[in-house]
Symmetry: C2
């Protein structure tokens, strides 16, 4: 069973991702080191003891749909209630509406643990928190006062309604329409698909945030507005009024995260209410809906990245436990009697260590991204906002790819038992697979990284970041830690690969060689993630964490440098020289 | 829906894997080119039109267990009957027992297509064919005459019983026991798990081949004997007699291949018959059971490799079809009106081409292995037997890893729809995952490759093979095909990586540096597969297939060389220099 790795998480937050210097520098208000530890410990306890034991039933039973209603898995409504009462929904929310206003770093660390417990459970609250953010930033005072206190307390949940059958990655073509009613309200008509937690029995009311198009809106993404559409209308006194004309038509039969209801939502077909039309209120300005969504999109992407880290951590723990227990054959050098635990076989150890490296690398990258988000509220705001922007696609894609790869290795370590559902390794393999897809596919992340993020400050931001990485590699090379092996040299080489690929892409983008730049986007994104993995593991090995585990961290870092990140050279070649053969081979696909 | 790529398969068999020269050289009896084409066309038709349409129901309904009996998915018993009546079960079987005695190459090509139609369906017949092989090679005349005609005709099926709860990769510790009865029969007692098609309603009788230990057997794998244990005893006249004391206790709830019943089998607990004990007959000699199994193990491993190719092909077809149909956004350079098909986006094209390369590489490797199996029956038997031995672990591991990787990319290409079960991409992702595990995990294959296959003929076999590969690279470099781009140089470099890693491993094995050799086994196996992929694609591009598709093949080959196989350098470093950091990091795992 999953046990939250609270110490490793705390170390990574503080000594790799920047929380310790931020605390020391007074950048995080009166937050103290002790409070950080207390929050992490309690979030971890909740994940290990409350959520994880209900993960399997969530998968086997799944969310069930009948007559427009969704029944959540047995025990889950009580679990949600306990989670909300624990105050977890309000961690980062504004104190103006009952929130605790804590840094984003703590939120993502907690998110990781909850998702390790059950990704299908954690995704629901995550979306509510996203809706709270959007409403806090863009809602009118009336909307905020009416909805936020109950959303922050967890009494009501939220949902995010973007996708339509023909509008997924490309939201510009959406068809859901909104009509002005002259009284400050709107009527919405349309269908949304893939709406996570669009319907459930956790809460009495659900606050849908819905993108729709006004009759006179410009075409494309500049003609999209954001609306708040509650499941039940809310009376002046805050009590629930009549049912709104918005309902769940069906839920999807999915590969994984079975406990998470993925709803097709119908707005305004006249099923409820006196006349057809789901009653909605504008959030932000007309035709500026996408901008409203973008303020929270980055955080949502990072939240999905946390799902990747979470699955990778859970899969790694499970595989290590099995490999220590299961005996089979005699590993070379095995001195014990009888068969050796399979962890003693070099090939199994290689799989487990690769899993550890990818998990820890993904964790460090995502936490560093959250740190940048936190720092963007203070001095050097632009620098940190750019850092957050730059790291978000890498965090999302690298961590979610790691989730899939690590979960797959986890099945492999289990041998035949891994293919049996009751073992639980297969569930992680299934659940993991959605994360590289939703909140912007990893291909979309790569396009964003190369075409919008690299050019920030004319490329000076990424160049400055690479200089920081080079500094870590130099420290590793200059260190007197034999346990680091060839880390310094290897990392230096990989950073040179990153730099060469970056320079090439910056030139391609600035010269308008769009096809070539996009052809190399995904290899570049992977290259970036591998370099950051090596660099952050080295930073951790060199850090003064005070826990006497530097040798251990150095050993894992060395394994990463010498056995995991070496693909950077091939990836650089693919970025710089791969476009021509990609274009030439396109015809093969017919 | 899957459509068997009969032309590509025929081309690969003939012009890449060696069938054309073998036919020309008269190595395959009176088999003609026309007959090959006719067999492939009909096997493909059966796969596309008969099997594939029943793949989805096999998954959603699955094999169902109740009261010791297994009910197969709706339509599957009739499908099996049609398949057997088509003569497919007898393709490679000996004409002495009603078989057609055709080459193994045709069998694996047909296997690929049937598995693309439904892996869960094809695995059952595959195991029966394995049982036929074992019985043909090692059974007494009485056993052969009693069982083989009905197994070859498909009237009865077979099953292979190896695994026990504590004996998976390590069969030496198995506990199922057999007692001599003095009348030529034995009584078996024990439990076997993970028995594919151990029970079903396709046939009246099931012929179980069961490994068990005699009371006075030596410990370990040298004390294992092979027995034939029919579900129903067979009367002298060939009719079915009483039920034997062997039955299915339960079936597993698995990640994939739901239509394939994975049985726990109980032998000799007294449920059937007058006294406890499943009645069995010895196959081969006492205590030589593992040797009997090994004669067919290589073919079984190759058959699992075909499942990897099959899933990869099916996933690629599905993804390409979706990417041509689904429109989203505007790809750079898109001139059409409205959104472009997603296949126009460079990142999507990259995924699809990578899928194509891995599929075609895996196909070529597995077919080349089958060719070696066929040639091992004629002149140069030792050379070809060694080639088959060497290629088997690479074929099994590379193709099954390709199955998983390509199916995962296939889900990704589908975006959110890929996560919805009805789309079918998710089923391939689930089904694919068992292939790297069963018939010897891919880690076991790597150990076999490095410790037993590389040293064949003191390393001269692998050295000779590398020289053949170098010859292909030289031809590519010397060719006047601009479409090959840098194929010659890249391939030459990758072959040098393979050679350096091979030399290092040969030295490590011969000097008894077992831990170091095993630490590099999996990276080496991958390196080998990537080099073969590049080389076989080049061989195909340079071949005179007479179909005017050389430019197209060259374009895909170039994409492979410049965008897929470049990891060989990193893999070489991992083989040669990765063991130390692996050993040092072992402590991190606790």
């Amino acid at each position: 069973m999953y046990k939250a790795p609270v110490e490793e998480i705390a170390f990574t937050l503080k000594h790799v991702a920047g929380l310790a210097p931020a605390l020391d520098g007074g950048h995080l208000g009166d937050l103290t080191d002790d409070l950080v530890d207390a929050i992490l410990a309690e979030a971890g306890r909740f994940a290990s003891e409350e959520i994880a034991p209900l993960g399997a039933i969530g998968d086997t039973q799944g969310a069930r749909f009948a007559d427009g209603a969704v029944t959540m898995p047995t025990g889950w409504p009580a679990l949600y209630k306990a989670w909300a009462e624990g105050g977890w929904n309000s961690l980062t929310a504004s104190p103006d509406f009952g929130g605790q206003g804590l840094p984003h770093m703590l939120h993502v660390a907690a998110l990781e643990m909850w998702n390790s417990g059950s990704m299908a459970f954690a995704i629901g609250p995550t979306l509510t928190i996203g809706a709270i953010e959007a409403l806090t930033a863009h809602g009118s005072d009336h909307l905020k006062n009416t909805y936020l206190p109950k959303m922050v307390s967890g009494e009501w949940m939220g949902s995010m309604n973007l996708t339509e059958p023909h509008a997924g990655s490309d939201l510009g073509v959406m068809k859901t329409r909104a009509e002005r009613r002259g009284d400050g309200t709107y009527r919405l008509f349309g269908q949304k698909i893939f709406i996570t937690y669009g319907e459930h029995d956790f809460t009495d009311n659900i606050v849908h945030l819905v993108l729709a198009r006004l009759p006179d809106a410009p075409a494309g993404t500049r003609g999209i507005s954001l609306f708040l559409v509650p499941k039940f209308l809310v009376n002046e006194d805050g009590s629930l009024g009549p049912r709104n004309d918005a309902y769940c038509h069906s839920i999807e039969h999915k590969l994984g995260i079975h406990g998470s209801p993925t709803c097709t939502m119908i707005y305004g077909d006249g099923r409820f209410g006196e006349e057809p039309g789901a009653i909605g209120w504008l959030v932000g300005e007309e035709n500026r809906g996408l901008a409203c969504m973008f303020t929270m999109m980055n955080n949502a992407r990072l939240a999905v990245g946390m799902q990747g880290v979470a699955i990778a951590e859970a899969a790694t723990q499970k595989a290590i436990a099995y490999a220590k227990e299961r005996t089979q054959g005699k590993a070379p050098g095995w001195q014990g009697s009888g068969m050796s635990p399979i962890i003693e076989h070099p090939d199994v150890a290689r799989m487990l260590l690769t899993m550890k490296v990818l998990t820890q690398g993904a964790r460090a990258i995502t936490y560093a991204c959250a740190h940048a988000v936190d720092m963007a509220h203070g001095a050097d705001a632009r620098h940190w906002a750019e850092r957050a922007s730059l790291l978000t696609p890498v965090a999302k894609s690298f961590a979610t790819d790691a989730g899939v790869d690590v979960a797959s290795l986890g099945v492999q370590v289990h041998g035949g038992m891994g293919f049996i559902e009751e073992t639980g390794a297969a569930r992680l393999y299934r659940d993991a697979r959605i994360a590289p897809i939703y909140e912007g596919t990893n291909g979309i992340q790569a396009i964003d990284l190369v075409t919008r993020k690299l050019p920030l400050s004319e490329g000076n931001h990424i160049r400055g970041f690479i200089a920081e990485l080079r500094d870590i590699a130099a420290k590793a090379a200059a260190s007197n830690m034999p346990a680091l092996g060839e880390t310094g040299e290897r990392l230096t080489g990989s950073i040179a690969d990153l730099e060469a690929a970056t320079d090439w892409l910056l030139a391609a983008v600035s010269e308008g060689r769009q096809v070539e730049a996009l052809a190399g986007a995904t290899p570049y994104q992977r290259l970036f993630g591998l370099v950051l993995t090596g660099a952050y593991l080295a930073k951790g090995a060199l850090a003064d964490g005070g826990d006497g585990r530097n040798e251990e961290r150095a050993a894992l870092c060395r394994f990463a440098a010498e056995n995991v990140i070496g693909e950077t050279a091939a990836l650089r070649e693919r970025v710089i020289g791969g476009a021509a053969s990609l274009a030439a081979a396109r015809a093969v696909l017919g």
